[in-house]
Symmetry: C2
Subunit: 604 residues, 2 copies
């Protein structure tokens, strides 16, 4: 069997075993062209951007190639590593000599930049020298960069078999193990991600010291370790220990990366107390601090979660990276619990908060994903949505994060247990396990018919589990009603060629926010299937800033030529007099002219 | 006659002539105890804070007294100058040896810190040396500090006759005239205030070069002069020339200080085009970017104005300094136009957005003034309202700004023209002009009866103009109906002892926001007279986060023992079932326990 091309690895102790890229494979439908554009447009352009922004040059300089000063933000290396990770996953999906060549060239530069003792951070090496290591860990992102390097290395070895980056990662991880801990430096990086990375490196190598260090980083946080630097501990997820926290707070990406890493630690160490705490935090986040799009982070100030129910649509920050971190956390919680709630949450984040972050062509990005954009909005600052999507950012964390997510999307489709196969996300795909093969045919999310064919099956009974989304009323499996918000389980002795037909009715619906979400009081949002819809100015006669939604039927029809093919929703609204309203999927907004947009519309 | 104890000076070319502190004098009522606490509590404690925070030490070090490094923010000097200005105005209200001693001690330190050529900025002198002058003017606040020094110097000479600080100010202003302009450094400070200051120094000294330089600073801005520094021009009010701008944008305090300075320039140079542009900007700010409290600045990120109608109550920044800058701008526009609109605006900012920034005891402050505070709000960061009011801040611009405003409040009461006297703000007070004396008896804003007695009058006819607030229905003067939103003018030949009785009915009312203010859709705020009311958790049975306001009568009754005496409003609300609601003036919130608070409540 090929090596598992995924992360977390199938060797995880989680309840569900993930299925890697080669074996769970998106073959068409909604996501396939998006992955193709990611491969053909985004990844090559990404390398150009990393070149022109100086990220690659920093690593070359650290490797002794040429002379000059580091440029760009302290975390510049991490964007290179996320890009390398995307290249690896993409190679796993669709091997090509071009990808391998790009990967090997850059891996050689990274390896060359590493110090003999394993330390690696080109910006610190160039700006501060060896004496500057870990002096400002609260802000230096040295572990953050290391974490992304490790994640890229794991992807690389799993998808290409190359061990070049893994050698660097192991050397760096061994250096971290020697350097940090109760007997070494008692400090943590201001920006988590190293936790997830070290656990995954442990899964890859079996080296328990990596898991131990990941656990140490999780446990030591929240005891004032960062507060001691004179910074605000909340921002750094350092106000309370993860184990004791009951919510997420502070910088949203930091918070969800830490939680995802803590979930990894909890699973691999069998720490049920920690896992229970993470369940409470996720639920509280979902109930009180998550946008209807799955967007995370209500505040521009500090790129942070707001207070409970503080969810302004216009000034939503909802960073694309936070949606990605949320997806990673939800995925880990799903693997750990087999609770459909997390797969539902993942779906909402994936189709809305995440996907809105990238243009239809795959190579222009939103850093910030508001749920309302006024016609009068003024574009100030690199990240302002009023600019429309942009090819790159001063802080370029999001674009390569999107690339690696799209390239590894197949890994979210399905899992296995000893009892059978679980389908979590529906896409035109082929799923292969050691004993079984499933073909999934669907044009979801445009159509709710999902036909599963089983060309290969063992002769013994096993269970096919199908997630019935919480939003779905009147779902059926082979014509029989099934309940939403859980898995429909079909246990039988299967014969090759058997089929199962899942029907997920995609009736357009309006949803309201919790009454305490003051910012959208009296408003509704429109959804269909997993998609949240947006009302964009370009589709309306009336001024979107003044538009109300009447309580009228909502019609759906597919427009194959609009926005690469979308099902649009139409209904009645009013300003002073009644008017027609057309809504498009939220993910597709701002792919035409940038103008007024609303997800939440006043009712009546 | 005593020197005019006010700013802008009575020598202004404005339509209305202001009346200084000694001649317009608050003698009792609402503001008198607030001024007293400002004098007795805030000003002495302020000096202690300036000592312990290091601001005074910086100036001593720059004066060669002791050794050490500058501490605190780059604009540390400005807080000392604002405090000195407060001391001067307070001396003008109520001379005391203690104030004079404090003033003279600090003035000597400031004078000692000045360089021989007139340059003065202790932080730059200590950190950068002479070579560092004006190298980073976009952020160094060198002109900002100079501006506050000049304002303090003008106040000092007008109120105490001391010329110590004026000598420093003139020397510094002469240095600026020599150094900046088309023939010198073509640059502006990232933070305006120097414009207002230089015009006032021109009014004090008659030196036209100061007015010319103020005009130059106003005119040169907005032509990319700051953009050239690689910063975002919007933040610095540098995206468009003041003359061409149609709104306020970016950092709120910067924007309104610049506008106030531009108004000074427009008036003194007779620049009607500039004044017209400022009218448009003020109106647009008031219509689309001002909270019901008069608070300015919707965004924490960049302490900035938001887009049009972006006015979230919970994350309102509404910095206390922005309300003060708004008051200064409105005052200058009033003097320039005699339009009651500006006096109305000033009143709303003064009683609400400004006054909420200081505790009842006068010595604890809000930096940020939200219109909603959830019970679950988490206190993060020095400025978070969730902490409650605080004695000082890391960035301590607001406290001494409040002190100087309270100490000079008398200057906003009244003005004169050749035709008579205009009363703009109602307070228990005595107003003296060259020929006339007025006593104003009122407990406004608790009671709407304002009785004006005229013990001294010239034998010729003159006009008494009384502002009828826009919010006031059914106002009468001596029993005759008068229209709101303008001045009721009474022209007659007065006799000593004549009285006029103004009745301003203070019926509680609910107000709604413009429909495009999405954040408070379906909500109303409660007002009575000039006061906006707040519903605080401490006064309710029901949870404020869930509270709706029913369409029921609103009763008012005065509670002399509550919050130093307030008129409370009571009405009916509901959560699930009907409940009683009690509202207190917004300015008085957070003087008991900090808890949930709302200005805007959902209706129904």
């Amino acid at each position: 069997m090929p090596k598992d091309q995924l992360s977390p690895a199938a060797t995880t102790r989680a309840v569900l075993r993930p299925i890697g890229l080669g074996r769970a494979r998106i073959t068409g439908g909604f996501w396939s062209p998006r992955q193709q554009r990611n491969a053909e447009n985004a990844i090559p352009l990404g390398q150009d951007q990393l070149e022109s922004a100086g990220n690659l040059q920093n690593l070359r300089l650290a490797a002794g190639i040429g002379e000059g000063e580091a440029i760009g933000p302290v975390f510049a290396d991490s964007d290179v590593y996320k890009w390398l990770e995307a290249v690896a996953w993409e190679y796993g999906r669709n091997p090509s000599e071009d990808l391998l060549r790009r990967q090997r060239e850059l891996t050689a530069v990274v390896a060359g930049a590493q110090r003999d003792d394993g330390y690696l951070d080109s910006v610190v090496q160039l700006r501060e020298g060896d004496q500057g290591r870990y002096q400002k860990l609260v802000w230096s992102h040295e572990h953050y960069c290391a974490g992304h390097l490790i994640q890229a290395a794991v992807a690389q070895v799993r998808c290409t078999g190359d061990t070049g980056l893994l050698d660097v990662a192991v050397k760096l991880a061994d250096h971290l193990v020697r350097t940090f801990g109760d007997d070494g430096i008692r400090d943590v990086d201001g920006h988590p991600v190293i936790e997830m990375a070290l656990v995954e490196l442990y899964r890859e190598t079996g080296t328990a010291a990596y898991l131990d260090l990941a656990r140490w980083f999780v446990e030591v946080r929240g005891h004032g370790i960062i507060a001691g630097h004179g910074h605000e501990p909340t921002y750094f997820s350092d106000r309370r220990p993860v184990r004791e926290a009951t919510t997420v707070e502070g910088h949203a990406v930091r918070a969800v990366y830490l939680a995802a890493g803590a979930a990894d630690v909890a699973v691999e160490t069998g720490d049920t107390e920690l896992l229970e705490a993470l369940k409470v935090q996720f639920a509280h986040m979902w109930d009180t601090k998550t946008y209807v799009t799955g967007g995370l982070g209500a505040r521009w100030e500090g790129e942070a979660f707001g207070d409970e129910h503080e969810l302004p649509p216009d000034r939503a920050y909802a960073e694309t990276c936070a949606a990605i971190g949320g997806i990673q956390w939800a995925h880990r919680m799903l693997l750990a619990t087999n609770d459909a709630f997390y797969a539902d949450a993942l779906e909402r984040m994936l189709y809305n908060g995440f996907l809105a972050g990238v243009s239809l062509q795959g190579s222009e990005y939103f850093y910030v994903n508001p749920l309302q954009h006024r016609g009068s909005a003024h574009a100030d600052g690199n990240r302002s949505p009023a600019h429309g999507r942009r090819g790159w950012f001063d802080c370029a964390c999001c674009p390569p994060n999107i690339m690696r997510t799209l390239a590894s999307l197949d890994g979210y489709l399905a899992t296995t247990t000893a009892d059978g196969v679980q389908l979590h996300q529906y896409a035109e795909s082929a799923i292969t396990t050691d004993t079984t093969e499933l073909h999934v045919a669907t044009t979801y999310p445009w159509n709710g018919t999902v036909r599963i064919t089983i060309p290969k099956t063992p002769p013994t009974p096993w269970t096919l589990s199908l997630r019935i989304p919480t939003w779905c009323e009147n779902a059926t499996v082979d014509g029989k009603p099934v309940d939403p918000g859980q898995y429909a389980a079909i246990t039988r002795t299967w014969s090759p060629g058997d089929t199962v037909e899942l029907q997920l009715p995609l009736t357009p619906r309006t949803v309201t926010a919790a009454p305490r979400v003051d910012a959208v009081r009296g408003c509704v949002a429109i959804e269909r299937g997993p998609l949240v819809y947006a009302v964009e100015q370009v589709d309306q006669d009336a001024n979107v800033d003044d538009l109300h939604l009447l309580d009228a039927p909502i019609a759906a029809h597919h427009e194959p030529d609009l926005l690469d093919g979308v099902t649009v929703l139409t209904t009645q609204g009013r300003v002073d007099s009644p008017t027609h309203i057309t809504a498009v999927p939220y993910y597709a907004w701002a792919n035409r002219e940038i103008g007024a947009m609303r997800v939440w519309l006043p009712r009546g």
